[in-house]
Symmetry: C2
Subunit: 388 residues, 2 copies
């Protein structure tokens, strides 16, 4: 089984792009990834593309061949949809295809346009990631669903809104120098606490924004990287996926996300590491409480101990285990179909040393990404390591 290397990474700036089509956004991210990779397009065997709400946002399904064309690729192209983990599964299947020897070069990533729908429209479109019959028809949208999870967490383990505000503040701090971030501005704990309520106990600054953007990765086999003398020091050494019951009412515990724990167990097992080996991580903080659930499911903290990690400085840029040095979904933004790819772009740059925050983790050799769909009915975890 061959290893897999990240040969090139590309992003658009995340934010409002009302003047740009989806194909334009993805092509721009792919262009940057090819420039970074020094891999010719003619060597690409396959495109794995993630998108969630294109049928609603752009009346455009069947986006994979369209994106292949926009990116100048003539290879087979497949769309993956796993709600907000769409690009995560696209990358995962790319890694598995390269490992199997069926392909040497796969482009993986994703794109989402959301801001053209407005806040109400995007909220309604996002709600299709929940159970329409038993959740959405009852009035549930994602801020409400994560608010239920936050309440369950507080009830089970303690913690409060101030703990969550520290997470928001930390992630905004991390995004200050990230030129791809939707918000490059400081948010104090007090400002986060004072933001208007959305779904108690979650307030506006507990939520990630609505975002347009794209991500692209050029993934190659180790043998291809060696044969072409590529500068591709970061390897994908583990990939895992987990699934849980869709509706919150069918879960065993509202403050735990076993799909992510399952995904992590598989990914760690493949990489031959444990959570103590991880130096840095990008996790799916669509809401501040989601970051808490993520770092507990990944085994970085025991259940009930993740809530205070940001407040205590353990997960800040200067902490023992920096979480979301990119700014996370919270400050960098969350174009849902692109996010899973974007996390791997950011982590690759952090590990390669060419991220604005690389100096915060200059000794890091092992990183993890955690990408979740819905209320973590789906989760994908990847382990990246500096291989040379």
């Amino acid at each position: 089984m061959t290893g897999v290397r990240v040969a090139g990474v590309g992003l658009t700036r995340f934010g409002h792009h009302p003047e740009r089509t989806g194909r334009d956004l993805f092509a721009a991210a792919a262009l940057r990834a090819f420039e970074d990779a020094s891999v010719p397009r003619s060597d690409v065997d396959q495109l794995n593309y993630g998108n969630f709400m294109g049928a609603i946002a752009e009346r455009q399904g069947h986006q994979a061949p369209l994106m292949a064309e926009a990116a100048g690729l003539g290879c087979p192209a497949t769309r993956y949809e796993e709600a907000c983990a769409s690009a995560g599964v696209a990358v995962r299947e790319a890694v598995r295809t390269i490992r199997s020897g069926e392909a040497d070069v796969v482009v993986a990533g994703g794109m989402e346009r959301m801001t053209n729908l407005g806040t109400d429209g995007a909220t309604e479109a996002l709600a299709i990631a929940a159970d329409d019959l038993f959740e959405v028809n009852a009035g549930t949208t994602f801020p409400g669903a994560y608010a239920l999870m936050a309440r369950a967490y507080f009830d089970a383990y303690g913690g409060d809104r101030t703990d969550l505000a520290h997470i928001a503040s930390k992630n905004h701090e991390n995004a200050l120098d990230n030129e791809y971030a939707q918000y490059q501005r400081r948010v104090s704990v007090e400002e986060a606490l004072g933001s208007p309520p959305v779904a108690t106990p979650l307030h506006l600054y507990d939520a990630c924004p609505i975002t347009d953007g794209a991500s692209a990765l050029v993934l190659v086999s180790e043998s291809y990287a060696a044969a072409h003398d590529l500068d591709a020091p970061v390897a994908v050494t583990g990939t895992g996926q987990g699934t849980d019951n869709m509706a919150l009412a069918d879960r065993e515990h509202l403050a735990r996300t076993p799909a992510a724990a399952d995904a992590a167990a598989t990914a760690y097992g493949e990489a031959g590491i444990g959570p103590d080996d991880v130096d840095v991580a990008e996790v799916h903080d669509c809401f501040t409480i989601a970051e808490v659930l993520a770092i507990e499911s990944l085994g970085f903290f025991e259940p009930g101990e993740g809530i205070s990690a940001a407040r205590d400085g353990e997960t800040t840029a200067d902490g023992d285990l920096p979480i979301n040095l990119s700014g996370g979904l919270k400050a960098k933004g969350h174009p849902v179909g692109a996010t899973g790819g974007s996390q791997i772009v950011e982590l690759t740059r952090l590990l390669r040393g060419d991220h604005p925050n690389s100096d915060r983790v200059s000794d890091a050799t092992v990183g993890v990404t955690h990408n979740a769909g819905g209320t973590v009915a789906s989760a994908v975890v990847h382990v990246l390591e500096v291989a040379e």
Copy 2:
């Protein structure tokens, strides 16, 4: 590299199911597949699920974990979307995952609900498989797009509406005994010719219907089949995928579908066969002209010679190469996200000898499926063979 066997197959009846949810339909197909396979659900490593328009038809995205739950599966679950080839790519990736050794048992298939949208609504939803900017906004829907392809074919090679009517009549004849078919009724050439025009030269009976339905397959590694003494005589020996430019205006030739030819070349190469070795095929006849383009792209007929194949009896049930013995999309129905899986269900049954039309191909050992997305911007081809 291990081989892949079809251990079990399941379908719902195709047709109008206004009283059934998508999850109910898929669970029913999966139940039949498990009964057929004698494989316990706890052995399933992964669900690969195809769906196209769920975001519109049921306001339900993120369907993979929902369908896993409905089918009684706790494994990772991923949705594939490739327009009308969604289940085709879901099966293809299942085959590749089993071959790689990453999984021993994968459930693959798909589901679509369409009839609840009505004819206008379903036509509009289907149109998202075309290029929204350059085709749909100009008024193009799929009957119109395939009408352009038919006109281009007639201009380049000759042929006429009567040739197409023979294809419709043939496929309706084939469906007469298929209990899963939407239409089990005879349609004469004269009746097809006399049906109302939809988009000249295509009339109503040149088009497949709007359909609800689901398909499911239990695919296993050869080693798993042997270890569990499964009765699984049909092997998937080749899989291929191709991509073309999305919009018809960007194609080299409107009466050729190179994405399907590319997919066939890959699938034949893997199986070590050529088109002359094929005994029976299920092809993507969303419109009668599409069957012509398919059998030419698959290499069964030279360009320009496929148009007369049904009229001349070459592709009828008694012909040398029976095409769409299931009834095809035309008579069996076309729940788009399920179709690619359904084709493999039908072909498996034909080759195993338990299809109502198996006696028409009692000596058949090699079969092919051809599943297309949009105006064949995507195509997936599989080769199935009787292995024992």
